[in-house]
Symmetry: C2
Amino acid sequence: MKTLRVPEATVTRMSIYSRFLERLDRNGITTISSNEIADGVGVSPAQVRKDLAYFGEFGTRGVGYNVQTLLKYTLRILGLDQTWQLAIVGAGNLGQALTTSRGFNARGFHVACVFDHDTRRVGQRIGQLLVQPLGQLPELAQKENIRIGVITVNNSMAQEVANIMVQSGVQAILNFAPITLRVPANIEIRNVDLSITLELLTFNLGLKAAQSL
Amino acid sequence: MKTLRVPEATVTRMSIYSRFLERLDRNGITTISSNEIADGVGVSPAQVRKDLAYFGEFGTRGVGYNVQTLLKYTLRILGLDQTWQLAIVGAGNLGQALTTSRGFNARGFHVACVFDHDTRRVGQRIGQLLVQPLGQLPELAQKENIRIGVITVNNSMAQEVANIMVQSGVQAILNFAPITLRVPANIEIRNVDLSITLELLTFNLGLKAAQSL
């Protein structure tokens, strides 16, 4: 597979195609064209073909794609042909929402532990899990083979939690705290800002207002 | 301002630049170069200049940008030179987290009401707000001038909530339910999938593993 210098937007769309293919497969659909994929996810057919071309040749001209085969490829490309154990640190509202969310417990992902530094939260039940004390992270990370850490603590704790995650052998961090964290270069880190999409909405509403003048 | 056909990725980066400029302004920094902006947010200087060029000429060659002026422009471009009242429907963990989150109560955004259809949640306090019955949405949306609705209910309720929002005069919807909602073409809608960034992490971890072979 060719996988060098793939734009992040392409990887994000691969996730979207892959989820769409899962839905088709569940509904018993066996072949699909790039036009139909484009229609189903709301991008142009040329974009679908260009995105897939980063990774090789999957379709047959005039026939389209075999849904199960293309789904299997997208999962492999996204690294989802294996299980990823997650640990969530921060058992507040957001941590609780993510622990039990479908997205964090599907497609190879599994929330294996939840931690909090607040002793009042330790021992509380979230779905199937009991909140563990933060001090247990290194030991449980090893025992549960945790490779991805999710940070849902507040800003003042986030860097300390990131440090503990790195020391515990976590390879990647998804950070929901609105702060820039410093981690070694070999650690994959992504920040999720839940409000940034709001500004995409207001930008577009502003455009519409300008065009209607 | 030129604002036609701006890529979504550019708009998202405008949000990021704008937040960075806010931080600089708070710290008393008055001028900045595109190289320093690029450094501060982790994109290339050429990208910063290209993004800003969609909207006009802001800097002076060799001098750079005035921080306050550029900040004001970015806020105006993003539609944040006004107040946007939000309503959140779904007072579960995610709804609670968003209601009290800094991002949803800053930069012109303000969560004005929270609703739930579950009578056990109605009347509960989340931060400064009391959870209202869903049936109150049309009336309160008008009274509070709600223009953006945020959906944090489960899949089975999400379309019904979207319909009520549209009937209540909401202009834009931010949907956290992992389902495709049908709304009239004049309504701005964006879906937020909290797990899609996880797949960006596993894609990159897969790349690293492949390169180290």
